[in-house]
């Protein structure tokens, strides 16, 4: 572990430095054993006090709340993009397996997962901002056009996973007896696909969206710098480079909380999608 006081008091005279450091250590409670420090931090954290940023001297909670909207907005845009593209692609692939569409989609899907997200962001900027000049390369001025490239970059990997999973879930459900029954009693193909198959196939897909959320937060850390997006991800990177530990701690904890919260919401959504599970909860 590194000594924070070294960073805050980078004095030139050794004696002065030692004195300043030791008084800083006392006032910050760094002389206590680590578990005492940890529980002190925890006690304050549950009261909503995450300490102060070493650099800006502002409250960590203020810093985080300032940047939360940007990150949330982008995450929601990315998930929306992933669902809007991924689910229909999965459905189309599953209803016509081994068609040209299916083949192209299933070759592209692993590509989306294997691409380094920060590199993809730079490539999109290169094509759509530098060469074509269609979209702004960075910033968040409020306009929808500023959100497009960041959201697509963040959402690509999820799109690919969602498309693959939707396809395999749909294929499985379409082979079930109730799908065959529905078809054989003469229901139109569309009704079978959307009414009977899709609702059942969506359950694993919804779980997947929850899991993807972890990837979205990692992606936020990696790409907010590229798009000069004023969110928590960029703040974490800056805070690590500035050795602003309270801010790093607070921001990472915020991400962990969001991760837990999203997965809780996903668990509740099951009951809405699957009436069988409602009985279990009651």
């Amino acid at each position: 572990m590194r000594d924070i006081t070294n960073i805050i008091a980078p004095g030139t005279f050794l004696v002065m430095k030692v004195i300043v450091q030791s008084s800083l250590r006392d006032s910050m409670g760094l002389n206590d054993p680590f578990y005492v420090q940890y529980f002190r931090w925890l006690r304050n954290a549950v009261r909503g006090d995450l300490g102060k940023s070493l650099r800006s001297k502002k409250l960590v909670t203020t810093e985080i709340l300032d940047r939360l909207p940007a990150t949330t907005e982008r995450a929601i845009a990315a998930v929306t993009f992933a669902v809007i593209v991924g689910v229909p692609v999965g459905i189309l692939s599953a209803t016509k397996p081994n068609s040209w569409f299916d083949n192209i989609a299933m070759v592209l899907a692993p590509t989306g997962v294997g691409m380094p997200v920060f590199w993809q962001g730079i490539m999109l900027i290169l094509v759509f901002s530098v060469h074509l000049g269609w979209l702004p390369s960075s910033g968040r001025m409020g306009g929808f056009e500023y959100l497009i490239l960041p959201a697509i970059t963040l959402g690509t990997a999820s799109t690919a996973s969602i498309a693959r999973l939707t396809r395999s879930a749909m294929l499985e459900v379409l082979q079930q007896d109730y799908s065959r029954t529905a078809r054989s009693k003469g229901l139109p193909r569309r009704t079978v696909t959307f009414r009977h198959a899709l609702r059942n196939a969506l359950i694993p897909v919804v779980t997947m969206i929850g899991l993807q959320f972890g990837g979205l937060m990692s992606g936020a850390v990696l790409t907010e710098t590229i798009f000069a997006w004023p969110g928590i991800g960029r703040m974490i990177v800056d805070a690590i480079n500035n050795k602003d530990f309270p801010l790093v701690q607070g921001a990472i904890m915020t991400f962990a909380l969001m991760y837990a919260l999203v997965n809780l919401i996903i668990d509740v959504t099951y009951a809405l999608l699957d009436p069988r599970l409602r009985l279990v909860y009651e």
Partner: protein, 291 residues
């Protein structure tokens, strides 16, 4: 003799899996490209055409040419040679961090699954704590605490993959533990360690092999990401992620200094994923939903 012909016809499990794997076209292509990359990494001093860290200010940001097939970067360094040496670093980081996760996570899972009870309880709660953060963020937090550097990145990524190995191993062991031959070994008075390492481990290893290959891809991506953020390899080390980060300001003038290291990461990760998917299908078709 009839008996001997029967024996020669019978396929070992290994032969059957190899055959299955070779029939998978995507896995074969991925495997071949991966072999080329590994060979290049091992013989980097011979494969590279230039010194990867030697600067040549008069040769800045040159487009690809006969002399520099991938062009040069902002310090006039040969990008091809840097990519070749970068393969060494990326593969090593992937290998070391996943080996760490495999040994630590695997052992925790074995112990937890075999003994059960309070030991299982404690180990699994520890794993749950690690799982509270998505893998990359956990690695980021660890690097933030330890300080930047490639060794710390290996450590951090290793720790972030421990939970998946522990859980996979545990569930695999739980399934194997109840089988008759384990009961038989116990009845014969075999020691716990003998049962674990001779009977249970070999029979619950297939999902672990698949997980190892796929995690290696993830580890290389994470390492490149951390280096991109400036937390991994430090300049002038030729690391793919940090190459992209340092060349980014010059992207309008010379896109190849960003494009090519990115393609290198992308191709390596893709190939590992393809091989991993192929192994999964060959080893156990039931594992299709693993990733």
């Amino acid at each position: 003799m009839a008996v001997s012909t029967d024996v020669s016809k019978a396929q070992s499990r290994f032969q059957r899996i190899t055959k299955q794997l070779l029939r998978n076209r995507r896995a074969v292509v991925g495997g071949i490209i991966l072999l080329v990359i590994i060979t290049m990494a091992i013989f980097a001093p011979y494969a590279a055409t230039h010194d990867p860290v030697k600067q040549n200010i008069r040769n800045q940001l040159k487009p690809p040419s006969r002399e520099h097939i991938f062009g040069t970067d902002q310090f006039g360094r040969d990008i091809f040679s840097r990519v070749v040496y970068g393969a060494r670093l990326s593969l090593r980081v992937g290998f070391l961090s996943i080996s760490f996760a495999l040994v630590v996570g695997g052992l925790l899972g074995l112990v937890s699954g075999y003994f059960g009870g309070w030991m299982d309880m404690i180990i699994m709660r520890l794993i749950d704590i690690l799982l509270a953060l998505p893998g990359f963020l956990l690695a980021l937090a660890i690097v933030a605490a330890l300080g930047p550097g490639l060794e710390n990145v290996v450590m951090a990524i290793g720790v972030s993959y421990v939970p998946s190995f522990a859980r996979m191993m545990r569930s695999s062991v739980l399934a194997t533990r109840e089988l008759d031959y384990v009961g038989a070994a116990q009845a014969l008075g075999a020691s716990d360690s003998r049962i674990i390492f001779l009977h249970i481990l070999p029979n619950s290893i297939s999902p672990i092999i698949v997980l190892t290959t796929l995690s290696m891809a993830g580890a290389i991506l994470s390492a490149a990401g951390l280096s991109f953020l400036g937390l991994g390899a430090q300049p002038p080390t030729p690391e793919w992620g940090s190459m992209i980060a340092t060349a980014r300001p010059f992207i309008r003038v010379s896109h190849w200094s960003v494009t090519i290291p990115g393609l290198a990461i992308f191709i390596t990760v893709m190939c590992l994923n393809l091989v991993g998917d192929g192994l999964r299908d060959a080893l156990d078709p039931r594992l299709k939903n693993l990733s």
